[in-house]
């Protein structure tokens, strides 16, 4: 509810602001262009992820000083500590770097971000940035149109820099015009209440803009225009430093526990640094004044002094916190423990049934039924179908196009958690039970083991099939769409057939009935391939899609075959003799192929 109201309210407020004040409009558009520049830069750096960048990342974070330097340098180059922290979270989530290394980068990024203040304070407000922005933008856009991935990336980075500069220019212009209107300094609050108030404003502004850089630029430009007092500007800088962690926290929301730990470290570091800065603000200001005199900065050049302040308090934070990194890592690992992987346990495999062959076979069979159910679940949702449709009364042909957007994500994870773990324990159970078993019983065990192994293949097949199916089920080309719909129907048909056999009860001829399903899928696979040849010859589908289809037919065929095989084992009758008789009567691969080839099956 809040979410629904929030965005329209912000838009309305902004609209009203634009209508009332053209200066506000200029500042806001400056912020917008600045943020857009950041987005473009992020897009540009994405072109360099993978390969060389990852290798460099590993090499440059294996020592604490290296990761600190890496964080500082990359943030200086990218001019965004948020971007560096979010990228670091993603690398940490991918286990490319250690948590301590990640924390080092975050600490370094806090130092690196201070260069932004220097750039704007020392360079941005004295030079007409817009004069640089335009040529950079032009070069950037030209490079964006290049085919080469590297040039394309550089283009985005340049365009990003161009927009950043342009944004700063607009914000500066806006504040300068503002100066004639209202004097913000008259609202200045002194002392600790003012400090806390402006720290809070700094936090809120940074959270809203998602960039401490943008806040700092605003603060510096406002300070240069005399819109805020020096004292309050310092408090805003402290606030922006705390508020900037919001991007990392948001980024960590979708990451694993390692990413969350890093975001936690980021928050702790910036909060502690902020508290130190608040507590020792008097001493830090004296230090800043001393440094300014040493560097030959005029006593009233508050913008440069703010840059020094920003650097000093962040350096102080790093100096104080760095020795505690190992303790911080331990603490974070303790507070945010990695969730223990949830592996399914078998339900029917128990020690007692190991002593009797029949009991052992029955336990394994029941467990294989569970395994079958779990696999079916993955397959159904993996190909974007719904259980109620697959096992319902509606003809499968009527399900065309339904559920295309409901594909199951995380197939691998589900496979690891439920199927693989159960199958591993079934295997172990079988090998223990088989010792000293009669050959007939051992044969049953072998059949279950083989069918279970086929599941590996079917789940893998679903994973591969899903990639193309997702795209092609929404294709504009009806021939492609219908080919993938047919694949889904075929899978649905097999699942339905197996379910029918399951429901048939003790009188069932599971092995023989499903033998027919095997014939059906073989025949349909052959027909689909023939149809595909016609489609390619008739230029109805491109050759590249045809290649994908050939592979996907193969995957679908294997999925169906493995499902049938497990169904034959899991839902076979309890009577060993009856099972054996059915196995002898079932048609083998050669016999099926011969039937299709000789046209017995049409």
């Amino acid at each position: 509810m809040m979410r629904r109201i929030l965005l329209p309210s912000i838009l309305l407020l902004l609209g009203y602001g634009f209508w009332v004040s053209p200066d506000f409009k200029e500042i806001a558009s400056g912020v917008a262009i600045f943020l857009f520049g950041m987005l473009a830069m992020e897009q540009g750096f994405q072109a360099f992820t993978g390969g060389a960048l990852e290798r460099t990342l590993k090499k440059t974070t294996n020592r604490l000083w290296k990761s600190l330097a890496f964080g500082a340098v990359t943030t200086t180059i990218m001019q965004s500590s948020s971007l560096v922290s979010v990228i670091t979270i993603s690398f940490l989530s991918a286990e490319l770097i250690s948590l301590a290394g990640g924390i080092g980068i975050i600490f370094g990024a806090n130092l690196g971000t201070t260069t932004g203040a220097w750039l704007v304070a020392g360079f941005g407000l004295k030079v007409k940035l817009s004069s640089y922005a335009m040529p950079i933008l032009v070069f950037g856009v030209i490079l964006i149109f290049q085919r080469s991935k590297v040039l394309h990336g550089i283009g985005y980075v340049l365009a990003g820099v161009g927009f950043l500069f342009l944004g700063i220019h607009f914000m500066k212009e806006g504040f300068e015009a503002f100066k004639q209107g209202i004097d913000l300094t008259s609202y200045a609050v002194t002392g600790y209440p003012g400090l806390f108030l402006f720290v809070a404003i700094g936090i809120v502004a940074t959270v809203v803009m998602q960039s401490s850089h943008a806040t700092l630029v605003l603060v510096i430009t406002a300070l240069a225009a005399g819109q805020v007092s020096y004292e309050n500007a310092l408090a805003l800088a402290i606030g922006s430093n705390v508020g900037t962690t919001i991007t990392a926290i948001l980024g960590a929301l979708s990451s694993n526990v390692q990413g969350k730990r890093l975001a936690g470290a980021h928050l702790i570091f910036n909060m502690v640094t902020g508290l130190i800065a608040i507590a020792a603000i008097g001493q830090i200001v004296v230090l800043v004044d001393w440094l300014s005199t040493l560097l030959g900065i005029a006593a009233d050049d508050y913008t440069l002094k703010l840059a020094i302040f920003h650097t000093v308090f962040n350096s102080l934070g790093i100096a104080i916190m760095t020795p505690f990194i190992p303790r911080l890592v331990r603490g974070l690992e303790h507070w945010m423990p990695a969730p223990a992987p949830v592996f399914e346990r078998p339900k029917y495999l128990n020690e007692a049934s190991l002593d009797f062959a029949d009991a052992a076979i029955e336990a394994v069979r029941k467990e294989s039924v569970r395994l079958y159910d779990k696999t079916v679940e993955i397959i159904v949702h993996g190909v974007g179908l719904r259980r109620r449709d697959v096992f319902g009364e509606e003809p499968l042909e009527d399900l065309d196009g339904t559920g295309a957007a409901e594909f199951e994500e995380g197939i691998q994870e589900r496979y690891e958690q439920s199927i693989k773990s159960i199958y591993a324990l079934i295997l172990e159970f079988i090998s223990r039970a088989q010792a000293g078993m009669e050959p007939e019983n051992a044969e049953d065990m072998y059949a279950i083991r083989t069918a279970g192994r086929g599941l590996l293949e079917s789940v893998k097949g679903v994973k591969h099939l899903q990639k193309n199916m997702r795209v092609h089920l929404l294709s504009e080309n009806p021939a492609i769409r219908s080919a993938y719909e047919e694949i889904r129907q075929r899978i649905g048909y097999v699942l339905r057939e197996v379910e029918a056999v399951r429901q048939a009860g003790e009188d069932r001829l599971a092995i023989l009935s499903l033998n027919d399903a095997k014939v059906a899928i073989k025949q349909e696979d052959a027909e689909a391939n023939l149809k595909l040849d016609d489609l390619v010859r008739g230029d109805l589908i491109p050759a590249t899609t045809a290649t994908s289809l050939v592979n996907d037919y193969r995957y679908a065929y294997r999925i169906c075959k493995r499902v049938i095989e497990l169904g034959q084992v899991a839902f076979a009758v309890h009577d060993g003799g009856l099972r054996d008789a059915q196995r002898r009567l079932a048609l083998d691969e050669e016999e099926i192929e011969a039937m299709i080839e000789h046209g017995v099956i049409r």
Partner: protein
């Protein structure tokens, strides 16, 4: 001679293999009967079915069933022809 044949008959009767063989033949007969019934049901279904695709599916099922039955009958014959005491495995 007569005594020897009688002993042989008793031996066969007591032999586990022979008993398994007899049991197997019985089960096979049972399965074939079930298949026969299933075939009859499918034929009825085929007569009622008007939809071409469904008819084709039933026809395929019938063909597979016939092939399975053919295999079963052959196996039945083999079992009957086997010298007593030997399994068809």
């Amino acid at each position: 001679m007569k005594t020897r044949r009688l002993v042989q008959k008793i031996k066969e009767f007591l032999s586990a293999d022979r008993r398994a063989q007899i049991k197997r033949a019985g089960v096979l007969k049972d399965v074939l009967k079930k298949l026969e019934k299933k075939e009859a049901r499918l034929k009825e279904k085929l007569d009622r079915e008007k939809d071409a695709a469904r008819r084709r599916e039933i026809l395929r099922k019938l063909e597979v069933l016939r092939a399975q039955r053919k295999k079963g009958v052959k196996l039945q014959k083999e079992l009957a022809d086997l010298p007593s005491g030997r399994s068809s495995r």
